[in-house]
């Protein structure tokens, strides 16, 4: 059968405008009546400034809600008709276009203090998957480290060397550690581009927890080859490997509702889509030419380096005339998600500041209107929280004032003269409409599944699927108000110039919640909830009932946050087949292999690393020392003052142990090739009595006659055995 291919170069500008106009009209058709109903309710009880503010905020929030729901509706309609004909994956004849890829592609993974074992296992899977597809020769791999924790740094080096050895990947799998992590992830990628970017046509950007199958990467490269006017294609990553309830909630929801949402998103974004920072392929020449990020003038929350670089890079690429597409239907793109609410909020704090910074770019010169919209939507996604909070506060204040007056609703007719509902009927109708819109994506996602019984089975069957939606709805109802408080606090902190530190996301078992952290961070939320409930009850028990789902979220925040962030309850639901995703019930081979290998690694790495295990091993172990030295450059003309300083630091390190040195001094030594060579030599040539106990222990670990190999059991060396 002849496939009707889509050529993005022939995409007429009017198509996008028509689609966006259509979505806009749909949104307005639902939003305007709702705003009229709300305005009418206020009219019946008398207008004032509070109610005007209430109405304005309602209009903003309701529009956002309708916009989300409409994307699901449009996405469903498209999928029912067999999918949108205007999508980037439709530009390739997958049955015919199976020849070799001519272009060279770099697969880059920027990392910063991540768990080395997990990073390397992810790289291994992608490498092996490409090898199995016979496509490996066109691809090189770069692990781009910005780690500044010596333990992580050395663990990465050892794990990389081990992987190169196991895969025979020398000359194809590279590891680069930057001396200073200027401009964080964006700077890390830019550094790669400056050094090696000109040698590759494309770059596939991964996150530390990304997994992409060889098939997915080849598909992205093939779409780029087919469409020379496309600068960036974003694949949609599916969330996987969640063990806690919180993580499994996210992956269940994104897996179930994601397909209709992304189909709807592609409908109006078309060639002006966005970049999410990873699981995407980028054409390097235009990226290097146009997407270097400016340092924003000034400091504080709106100045300095651009934190959320991805949106800006997509906007710059589009501004330069290159198309940016969302590849909604590419299979084999995965990522992991935070395991608990607190880690999720910490990540949001970073993203929030980055998105608020985009305020400076919304009106930047030359950007495509849709790029401006992406910036604005990114900002609104976080500003919606304080707006929602303000809406609730205003609702309470209005109810309080109403009680204080002792009046009843005015006996006036609705200004929507065609309807003559009672006050209560209209209020219930408005509430039902709002709740209904929240359920629209769920309903359309379920309708979408009707035609795919095998996928329903992979979700655990209709019964478990609906039970999962029930659980997800209840828990997200409880979690969302807490996130609202978090976001509102973060915005205030950001405006108060309390900057955000770059925290590595905790994953797997390390990411489990604990009571102390949950109590400390949610204690205030609980108190707010109790106080608000008392106030609402005093004003009007009906108000308390109306606000009860939100107030329950506040009051139960410690418990809900703790239990949804623990692995054990998550596994109970998993065993019961609840919140199950197809990737969990019928996992692709890559995910199965990853799980098996990580389990093996965890079994071997049961011991906790010593506080200075990385430094100790990079000095004591001849091979770890050599691998470390292979990454350092010897200085041609070292300054005598520096030499003397390093000599003193080395002496102190060996005599008194790593604990005697400040962290920056340890890092300085580890970055100095001369010092690392000398330390290794001096340690082995020293009498046991002349070195600190930690070194004595390090030397004697080789007294055992047990047979060791390099790198040994996973992380054996880096764990400070």
């Amino acid at each position: 059968m002849q496939v009707q291919l889509f050529d993005p170069a022939q995409l007429e500008p009017g198509v996008g405008s028509k689609r966006r106009f259509f979505v806009g009209v749909m949104v307005l058709l639902v939003t305007i009546p709702a705003i009229v109903l709300m305005a009418d309710l206020h009219l019946r009880t008398g207008y004032d400034g509070w109610k005007l503010a209430h109405l304005v905020i309602f209009a903003v929030l309701f529009t956002l809600l309708v916009f989300g729901a409409m994307q699901a509706v449009v996405g469903y309609m498209l999928r029912v008709q067999g999918g949108d004909t205007i999508r980037i994956s439709q530009s390739v004849d997958w049955a015919e276009d199976r020849g070799p890829l001519e272009a060279r592609t770099a697969v880059v993974m920027p990392i910063c203090n991540e768990e080395a074992g997990r990073v390397m296992e992810g790289v291994r899977l992608i490498y092996e998957s490409l090898e199995a597809d016979g496509r490996l020769p066109g691809f090189d791999f770069f692990i781009l480290s910005d780690s500044n924790d010596p333990n992580c740094w050395v663990a990465e080096e050892v794990a990389w060397a081990g992987l190169v050895k196991e895969l025979g990947a020398a000359g194809r799998l590279f590891y680069r550690k930057r001396r200073g992590n200027v401009n964080k992830k964006a700077g890390n990628i830019a550094d790669f581009c400056r050094r090696w970017g000109s040698q590759y046509r494309y770059m596939v950007v991964l996150d530390a927890d990304s997994i992409m199958t060889g098939g997915a990467i080849v598909a992205l490269a093939r779409m780029m080859e087919r469409n020379p006017g496309v600068g960036l294609i974003q694949a949609v990553p599916r969330l996987v490997n969640g063990e806690t309830i919180f993580a499994r909630l996210q992956q269940f929801a994104s897996r179930l509702y994601g397909p209709v949402f992304t189909a709807g998103t592609n409908y109006w974004q078309l060639s002006e889509a966005n970049y999410w920072g990873h699981n995407a392929i980028i054409r390097l020449a235009p990226f290097i030419k146009h997407c270097s990020l400016p340092e924003l003038p000034g400091d504080g929350p709106f100045g300095g380096r651009i934190m959320s670089h991805d949106y800006v890079e997509a906007a710059l690429m589009r501004r330069a005339g290159w198309q940016v597409w969302l590849a909604a239907s590419i299979e084999g793109s995965f990522e992991e998600c935070p395991a608990n609410l607190i880690d999720f909020a910490k990540r949001d704090r970073r993203w929030l500041q980055g998105n608020l910074q985009h305020l400076r770019l919304v009106f930047g010169p030359g950007f495509h209107p849709l790029s401006r919209m992406h910036f604005a939507m990114g900002i609104l996604s976080y500003l919606a929280s304080p707006l929602w909070l303000a809406f609730l506060v205003l609702s309470t204040a209005i109810a309080w004032r109403f009680k204080a007056t002792g009046l009843t609703p005015l006996p006036v007719d609705s200004f929507a003269e065609l309807v003559t509902w009672r006050f209560e009927t209209q209020a219930v109708l408005l509430l039902s409409l709002t709740l209904g819109l929240l359920f629209v994506p769920k309903i359309f996602a379920l309708l979408d599944l009707r035609s795919r019984p095998e996928e329903v089975a992979a979700f655990g069957g209709w019964l478990r699927l609906i039970a999962g939606i029930f659980i997800e709805t209840i828990l997200f109802t409880l979690l969302a108000p807490v996130l609202m408080l978090f976001h509102s606090t973060f915005i205030v902190l950001t405006l108060c110039r309390r900057s955000v530190g770059w925290k590595t996301q905790r994953r797997g078992r390390d990411g489990q919640s604990d009571w102390r952290e949950s109590t400390a961070l949610h204690g205030t939320h609980t108190l707010i909830g109790i106080g608000w409930l008392a106030l609402a009850w005093w004003i009007n028990p009906m108000l308390a009932a109306w606000m009860s789902p939100i107030l329950a979220g506040f009051i139960l925040s410690i418990t809900v946050s703790y239990f949804t962030g623990r692995i054990a309850p998550g596994l109970v639901l998993k065993r019961a087949g609840l919140l199950t995703c197809p990737e969990e019930s019928r996992p692709p081979n890559e995910l199965v292999r990853l799980e098996e290998r990580l389990a093996e690694r965890h079994r071997q790495d049961a011991r906790m690393p010593g506080p200075d295990a990385g430094l100790v091993n990079s000095v004591a172990d001849p091979y770890v020392n050599a691998v470390h030295l292979s990454q350092l450059r010897a200085k041609d003309n070292p300054a005598p003052a520096n030499e003397a300083r390093f000599a003193e630091l080395r002496r102190k390190l060996l005599r008194q142990g790593p604990a005697a040195l400040a962290p920056r001094d340890k890092l300085a030594l580890m970055m100095d090739a001369e010092s690392m060579t000398e330390l290794h030599r001096e340690l082995w040539a020293s009498s046991t009595a002349d070195v600190a106990p930690v070194w004595q222990q390090a030397l004697t670990r080789y007294s055992r006659a047990e047979e060791k190999t390099f790198p040994g059991s996973a992380g054996e060396l880096a764990m400070g055995m």
């Binding site: 509070w50 020398a170 400056r194 400016p294 000034g298 004032r401 110039r497 004591a620 990454q631 055992r704």
Partner: protein
């Protein structure tokens, strides 16, 4: 068999007990290179110690002398397998050790480790071709930001943020509080 020697011999002078400690250290060092087999390790250590004792300088610690000899032997052996720049042998040591580790040399060819025997071609090939690098040859590319990627209006945005310092913060706090009270008052709350 004879261990690969590095330097001319000097007179020996330390008590045997100290040399016992030195021997143990050399054994640990060899095991740290993942050399297997107690007998093989002991024999190689004994050979190294003999050389070290013979060349020990007066006053030198046996452990230091032994390790100096062990490293010199390793350097000489690696130099016989990998062509190196005569002026700086340190990179050779690092490169050679990486090749030993990645090629699994002590595991695959233990009998040749630090020995004079003519090495198999495969061993030489592995030692010469195995290595690690942070990337292909660097070809620097210019990548710098466009002059201005934000609107002039956007430059004033930092004023949205509350200024640092106690006085501006107190003033901002007071202003916000007064605004809220004023709004409540005017709304007749």
């Amino acid at each position: 068999m004879e261990v690969m020697k590095a330097q001319p011999l000097l007179a020996a002078a330390a008590p045997d007990a100290h040399w016992g400690v030195a021997t143990e250290r050399v054994e640990h060092y060899l095991r740290a290179h993942r050399l297997r087999g107690d007998d093989r390790v002991a024999r190689l250590a004994k050979d190294i110690i003999e050389v070290a004792r013979a060349r020990q300088r007066p006053g030198a610690e046996p452990v230091a002398a032994a390790m100096e000899t062990a490293e010199a032997c390793l350097m000489a052996w690696l130099g016989s397998l990998i062509p190196a720049d005569d002026h700086d042998l340190r990179p050779l040591l690092a490169k050679g050790r990486v090749a030993l580790a990645l090629g699994g040399v002590p595991d695959r060819w233990p009998e040749y480790f630090l020995r004079h025997h003519r090495p198999p071609e495969e061993l030489v090939r592995v030692m010469r071709e195995t290595g690690l690098s942070c990337g292909p040859r660097v070809k620097l590319t210019h990548m710098s930001p466009s002059p201005e990627n934000f609107a002039p209006a956007g430059r004033r945005l930092p004023w949205l943020a509350i200024s640092q310092g106690p006085l501006p913060r107190v003033m901002t706090g007071l202003l916000l509080t007064l605004t809220v009270i004023g709004a409540a008052w005017s709304a007749g709350l």
